[in-house]
Each structure stands twice: as structure tokens, then as C-alpha cells.
């Protein structure tokens, strides 16, 4: 029974989407319960798979309609679930479920919600199908489904500013990427005459890479990079994340770009086994560094809450990519850990943006302010998310970033290459810039003076708050118990990423790889030693002890001083100090912050601004040019 769970979880999402089309149009209750039910089923099913796959290390293979390989040739369409797939699948189902719950209230003011949930479940099915699939063409189909659904969902609030144009740009760039993927698939097929990932991997490893396969590989790589929105394919992502409803933005950054990352990991590590070549490592790390730096600097100059978060999404994907490109055990683990953390904290932050939009009706940083007094819980949740993404200990972002820095600097020492030392510096710098841009959001949305127009803001209802709280708690827990997360989630997944032989054998029958002359040992060992120390639990205990001590001493201090009084209205004593003038609305908005930085880097910012021109032709040009550079690089150096 349990080997049917992967296909059942995919099918339940698609089935749910069809059922909502049929039954969900009339009755609100049926629609909502169908949406929650069919997004909860995959969560349960995938969680059942944790025990056999992540803990016992099995690999599930499943041939649709029992079309098993005939005389060593895969003729059917297969699902293959190893720890890497399941790791990403867990992210997908968690995101889908929480986003569905959040949507119930958040979307309740829109109409045509049956279409929304249909597309929503379809998007989830597409991503889940992609990460569980063991078939190259099937992956393409799923990419198309998810692109289609995400375009429609981006345009869903078509009354909003720019959502239509964002959807159109997304569609154009997305279909260029899909066309590249399809061309790549077909070029690979022409070489090896099979579509099963396992068999392609085995055949390519024995036959070696020919120029045609490298060309196909480069196209596939660029295509999945388009889906992961790394630089230079990223501008559409910023538009789409900004204009889509927040629950959808969370899904985009939580799993859609993870799908692209998954595709890239699968391709470079397993199908083409190219990561042992230093040229491949260099290009991935360079792309990753560019992505994280450009993403974060663009975020610094944004003045829309969600657009800023979107650029951070891009930047954090850069971290993941850099770490994965290091091709060391610590690197892969750090990258996957960061992918997990990114899903948690970025989903959280997008939900916060959604909550702000729900109660105020705007996400413009220059129009908001002082919401902390109206929405205290959202503020705390936002601060947790912001500290996590900026990597302040003991939140989860710190743990994964710390692993990434160590991996990068160790790699530098190992290879004696100064380049990787620079990568470490860029990574640390980007982290500070991330903090800076979240300070900007904190100041201009939640703190400062209450902006006109925000007076009526209320805390969002409970059904929106609890998904946020759940993710916030997960953020803290994954930061506090990194050993647990590493042992049960990240290390199995990274082991699976590099265990090519096991993957091939599970799919094609034991010993298939050896018959073709593949050596059974894996290229990398997963034993890694950290060059530093970090024990969050000890730190937490200290923290609690100290905080308690401080509270007590403050309490004692109060006795000698009288209590801290609550502000009395209409007493000028409690007014903000304005140099003697009467209090008035004078809020330092988001775009007025960081003057010294912006002034010194003004040429860079101006250049970047003109690059993100908003014209769809330009974005298509960046996509094609980026692909061309990748193809050229791979053909020359691989």
C-alpha cells in the first residue's frame, strides 16, 4: 500500500482541483472544505513516507500501470522517490496546506474563488509531480502545469496594480524557459533514446558527455534556472511575487522556485554527474553569488513590501545555489538546510505582508507605518521572520548560513582558491544587507508613527494567524535543534543527492549500473567536520537565565524608583519630542532610509534600475542572453 502513496498524493491534489470545478462553484462551505481536505491528504501521505525513506533510507520506485523496464530499457513512466525528492516534497505539501488554510480568510473578499482553488491545487500538484517524478519528460509536463497555474494565479487579482502585466511577463519568460527545457529533453532523448532519469544517468555515465548532450544539458540547466529565477532570469519573479495574492506569493517562493532548484540539483548531481568538474562548480557558484548580491541590492531600493520580499527570495535562492555549487558534503547540506529555512521564513514573511494587506489594503512602504500598535502579533511574527532571514542567532537562518560560510571557506582552503574566499565574503556581506533591508521594512511598516489611513487596522483573524504562528515556531525550532534537522532531513537528502548508483539501481533493478560498468562508490563522502562551534541549546539556556536575571533585577530596581507608568493621553509629557513643536505626523518612510549607502553606490543603483526596465522584451533578452552564456561556457569548459 505504502508504495502507492507518492502517486496518490499527486493525484489527490489534481483530483481536488477537478472536484472544486464541479462542486465548488455554488457553495462556499463545500469549496473551502474540499480545498483544505485535498491539500491535507498529501501532507498526511507524504509524512507517512518519512519513516521508510528518510530514516530507513529506502528508495521507492513506481512504474505507472506496471510498465516495468523490459530487457534493461525503461519503457514506462516512473515515479521515483528518494530522500532528496521527499525532502522537497515535504516542503511542497507543508506550504500548500498552510497556504490553503491562510487563503480561506485572506481570499474571502475576492470572487470566483472556485477558480482560485482549482488553480491553487493544480499548482501544488504540478510542483509535487515535478519533485517526485523519475522521468525527464514528465518533469517538463509538470513544469508546464505549474507555469500555467502560476501565471493564472498571478493574474488572479487583475484589478490590482500591474498584476496583468506581471502575468504576461511571467508567461513570456516562463515559456521561453519551458521551450529550452523541452529542447534539452529532446536532445538528450536523441542521444540515449530513453526518458527515465535513472537510465539516462547510467547511460550518460558510461558513454561520457558528447557535445550534443552537453548542449542539451546546458539548455535543461538554463531552463530550470529560469524556473528557479536566478539572475539573469529573475525580474519576472519580482513582478509576479509582488502582484500575486500573498498566499500565492508564499507558494511561489516556498515551492515553485524550489522546484527549479530541485531540477538543477537533480540534473547536475545525478543525471549528468557533472559536479566533479571544477568548471561546473565555478559557473554555479558565480551564478549563485550574482543572484544573492543583485537580489539583495535590488531589495534595498524597493518601496513595496512584497516586491522587497520578492527580491529577497531571489537573493536567498542565490545562497542555496552557491552552497549546492560548492559540491562538498557540507555545502550540499548547508544548501538544502537553507532551502528548508527559506521556505519557512519567506513563507512567514509573505504571510505577514498578506496580513498587512488584509487589514490596511496596501503594501506600499511609503504609505504604511506604526502598525505595531494595531497588530502586535503580526509584528512579533514578522520580527521572528526578519531575524531568521537576516541570520541572527539562534534563529534558523543563522544555522544554514553558518554552514554555507564554512563550506565556502573550507572549499577555498581545500582548493587553495582565492575565489571561494571572496564567495564567503560576499555571502557574509549579503547577510548584513539583508538585515538592512528588513530594518527598512520594520521601520516603515510596523514601527514609527501611525500612518494616516492605518487607523482602522485590526489584528487579522485567528485562521490567518495560526499558519503564521506555526511557521514562526518552526523557524525557531529548526534554529534550535539543528542536529535533529540535520540527522533526519538534511543529511539523508544530501546523501541521496550524490548517491547515483542507488538511484539507478532502485529504478532499473539491482546491479543495472554495474552491468554498464559504473563503479558503485559515490563521488563524495558525507562525512564532514565543522571548523567552528555552535550549540544553540547552550546559548538558549544562557539567554533564558540572563533574561530572567535581568527581569528580576529590573523588578528590584522598580521598588526604588516607582513603576513604569502607562502613558496618559493628552499629557504632553508622553508626546514624541519634536524639538518643542507639537506632535505631528512625520514618519521617516522606507525610501528615505540609508542615505549614505545609496549615495555612495548611486551609480550601481542607477544601472540596476535601468536594467530592470519593466519592458518584457528586455527580460526576454536577459533570459536568452543568460542561456547563451551558459551554453557557451558549458561547451567551452565542460
Amino acid at each position: 500500500m505504502i508504495q502507492h502513496f507518492p502517486i496518490l498524493s499527486i493525484m489527490s491534489l489534481f483530483l481536488g482541483s477537478f472536484l472544486i470545478v464541479i462542486f465548488g462553484g455554488k457553495n462556499r462551505f463545500i469549496r473551502n472544505s474540499l480545498a483544505v481536505l485535498f491539500s491535507a491528504i498529501p501532507l498526511v501521505l507524504i509524512c507517512c513516507l518519512i519513516k521508510p525513506i528518510l530514516i530507513d533510507g529506502e528508495i521507492f520506485s513506481y512504474w505507472m500501470g506496471d510498465w516495468e523496464p523490459v530487457s534493461g530499457f525503461a519503457i514506462g513512466i516512473g515515479l521515483e522517490v528518494d530522500a532528496l525528492s521527499l525532502f522537497f516534497a515535504l516542503l511542497v505539501v507543508l506550504t500548500i496546506f498552510l497556504a490553503a488554510v491562510f487563503s480561506l480568510k485572506y481570499m474571502s473578499r475576492d470572487d470566483a474563488l472556485d477558480k482560485y482553488y482549482t488553480l491553487f491545487l493544480m499548482l501544488g500538484g504540478g510542483v509535487l509531480g515535478l519533485v517526485l517524478s523519475g522521468d525527464l519528460f514528465n518533469m517538463y509536463i509538470m513544469v508546464e502545469i505549474l507555469t500555467f497555474a502560476s501565471v493564472a494565479l498571478t493574474a488572479f487579482r487583475n484589478w490590482g496594480k500591474g498584476s496583468l502585466e506581471a502575468a504576461f511577463k511571467y508567461l513570456v519568460v516562463g515559456s521561453i524557459g519551458s521551450a529550452f527545457i523541452l529542447t534539452g529533453v529532446i536532445l538528450i532523448y536523441a542521444q540515449v533514446h530513453t526518458l527515465s532519469l535513472a537510465q539516462i544517468s547510467a547511460l550518460l555515465a558510461t558513454e561520457g558527455l558528447t557535445p550534443a548532450t552537453i548542449f542539451g544539458f546546458a539548455l535543461l540547466f538554463a531552463g530550470y534556472a529560469t524556473k528557479a529565477y536566478i539572475v539573469p532570469f529573475h525580474p519576472v519573479a519580482a513582478d509576479a511575487y509582488m502582484t500575486a495574492p500573498s498566499s500565492i506569493s508564499m507558494v511561489f517562493s516556498g515551492m515553485v522556485n524550489k522546484a527549479g532548484i530541485y531540477g538543477m540539483i537533480r540534473l547536475v548531481y545525478m543525471v549528468f554527474q557533472a559536479m566533479s568538474q571544477s568548471a561546473m562548480q565555478y559557473i554555479i557558484v558565480i551564478l549563485g553569488c550574482l543572484t544573492m548580491f543583485i537580489g539583495v541590492t535590488m531589495a534595498l531600493s524597493q518601496h513595496d513590501f512584497k516586491r522587497l520580499l520578492a527580491f529577497h527570495s531571489i537573493s536567498q535562492i542565490g545562497y542555496v545555489l552557491t552552497a549546492v555549487g560548492l559540491a562538498t558534503a557540507l555545502g550540499i547540506s548547508g544548501g538544502l538546510y537553507h532551502a528548508l529555512n527559506h521556505t519557512l521564513f519567506k513563507g512567514l514573511l509573505f504571510l505577514c505582508a498578506g496580513a498587512v494587506f488584509y487589514s490596511v489594503g496596501s503594501t506600499d512602504l511609503d504609505k504604511l507605518g506604526g502598525l505595531a500598535k494595531k497588530m502586535p502579533q503580526t509584528t512579533i511574527i514578522f520580527l521572528i521572520g526578519a531575524f531568521s532571514i537576516s541570520g541572527l542567532p539562534p534563529f534558523n537562518g543563522f544555522m544554514s548560513k553558518w554552514m554555507i560560510y564554512q563550506a565556502a571557506y573550507e572549499k577555498a582552503a581545500l582548493e587553495g582558491s582565492f575565489f571561494y574566499a571572496l564567495v564567503t565574503i560576499v555571502g557574509l556581506l549579503v547577510s548584513v544587507l539583508t538585515l538592512a533591508s528588513f530594518i527598512k521594512v520594520t521601520q516603515s511598516v510596523f514601527f514609527g508613527q501611525l500612518a494616516p489611513g492605518c487607523e482602522k487596522a485590526k489584528e487579522v483573524p485567528f485562521s490567518m494567524r495560526w499558519p503564521m504562528w506555526l511557521m514562526a515556531i518552526l523557524c525557531v525550532l529548526t534554529g534550535l535543534f539543528p542536529g535533529f534537522v540535520n540527522r533526519y532531513l538534511v543529511v539523508p537528502a544530501s546523501a541521496a543527492a550524490i548517491d547515483t548508483t542507488g538511484y539507478i539501481d532502485a529504478m532499473m533493478g539491482a546491479g543495472y549500473g554495474q552491468q554498464l560498468g559504473l563503479s558503485p562508490e559515490t563521488a563524495l563522502s558525507l562525512e564532514y567536520e565543522l571548523t567552528g562551534y555552535w550549540d544553540p541549546i547552550a546559548w538558549l539556556v544562557l539567554f533564558v537565565v540572563l533574561l530572567a536575571g535581568l527581569m528580576i533585577s529590573l523588578g528590584l530596581g522598580k521598588a526604588s524608583r516607582g513603576p513604569v507608568r502607562r502613558p496618559v493621553p493628552a499629557d504632553p509629557k508622553y508626546d514624541t519630542f519634536f524639538g518643542g513643536e507639537a506632535s505631528q505626523h512625520s514618519h521617516v518612510g522606507g525610501s528615505d532610509l540609508f542615505w549614505g549607502l545609496k549615495h555612495n553606490l548611486r551609480h550601481y543603483f542607477r544601472f540596476m534600475h535601468s536594467m530592470h526596465s519593466g519592458v518584457v522584451n528586455d527580460y526576454a533578452l536577459w533570459t536568452v542572453a543568460g542561456t547563451a552564456v551558459i551554453i557557451l561556457f558549458m561547451i567551452l569548459f565542460l
Binding site: 526604588s560 518643542g580 513643536e581
Partner: protein
């Protein structure tokens, strides 16, 4: 003991916030000269602060003009207790030569209780330091009485 340390510290670390309510700038210059190397009021812990929230001693110079009255009252209210108000020069209390002017609302006593008054037009720095030292002692007394 804790209380006693705090009481004693009150007199030894008075931070000053300076309000100009229409002064001719003479007293202000003299106040600044108090913290220069020659007179060095910092040796007694005096320090000029930038905001009334940090202040212990508020130094007011100039007759209270109608433009500055409202600002003066508001700023004085924003100083945390215990606080001491010092009038600097001849203007704030008797209004000096500006008395009777249509735009002078003074004297300062109308708006708050003045603890120390340093007279002179302008007062010598030595006199200002003397007044501030007295103010510091009054601060300690106020704290003790509370």
C-alpha cells in the same frame, strides 16, 4: 544601600538640556564656554544632552516670548522626574530690558517652578558653574524626598 548610591549619583552626574526662549545669545555663549577646557564643567559630571528625555537640569535663557512659550511648556513637560530648572541670566525671571514688550509672556515663574536663578547680563562662567552645582545638590534633595 542601592538607594543611597542612586541618591549620591544624582548629584554627580547632572545632564543639562538647554532651552533658548528668545535670548540674545549672550548667555548661550557663556553656557558653552563652561564646558570648554578653561572651565571644564565635565570634571563635575556635567554634560550637554540633545534631548529633554535625557536631561536632569533644564537651563532656560531669555525672556519667555509668546512664540516660545508653548514650546517651553511642552519641552519642560517631557523631562523625566526628578528635574531641576535653572534660569540663566537676567532675562527669564525679571524679563530684563524686555519687560513690558508686547511679545514677552514672561516671567518664567508663571509656567514652572524655578529652582535656581543665575543672575547677570551675562553671568560669568564661574557663576554659571556655581549655579549648576547648586542645582545638582537640589536634584539630589528632590530625589531623596521622593
Amino acid at each position: 544601600m542601592f538607594k543611597k548610591i542612586i541618591d549620591n549619583s544624582m548629584a554627580k552626574s547632572p545632564w543639562i538640556y538647554h532651552i533658548n526662549t528668545g535670548s540674545c545669545n549672550g548667555c548661550d555663549i557663556e553656557l558653552v564656554s563652561v564646558i570648554t577646557p578653561r572651565y571644564d564643567a565635565e570634571r563635575m559630571g556635567f554634560k550637554l544632552t540633545g534631548t529633554p528625555r535625557h536631561a536632569d537640569i533644564v537651563v532656560v535663557s531669555g525672556p519667555v516670548t509668546s512664540q516660545s512659550k508653548e514650546r517651553l511648556v511642552r519641552t519642560l513637560a517631557q523631562v523625566p522626574e526628578p528635574r531641576v530648572i535653572v534660569s540663566l541670566g537676567s532675562c527669564p525671571r525679571p524679563c530684563n530690558v524686555f519687560k513690558g514688550s508686547y511679545s514677552v509672556e514672561g516671567p518664567l515663574d508663571k509656567f514652572c517652578e524655578v529652582d535656581v536663578s543665575v543672575a547677570g547680563c551675562t553671568p560669568k562662567p564661574e557663576a554659571i558653574i556655581d549655579g549648576l552645582a547648586l542645582a545638582a545638590q537640589i536634584l539630589k534633595e528632590k530625589r531623596r524626598q521622593k
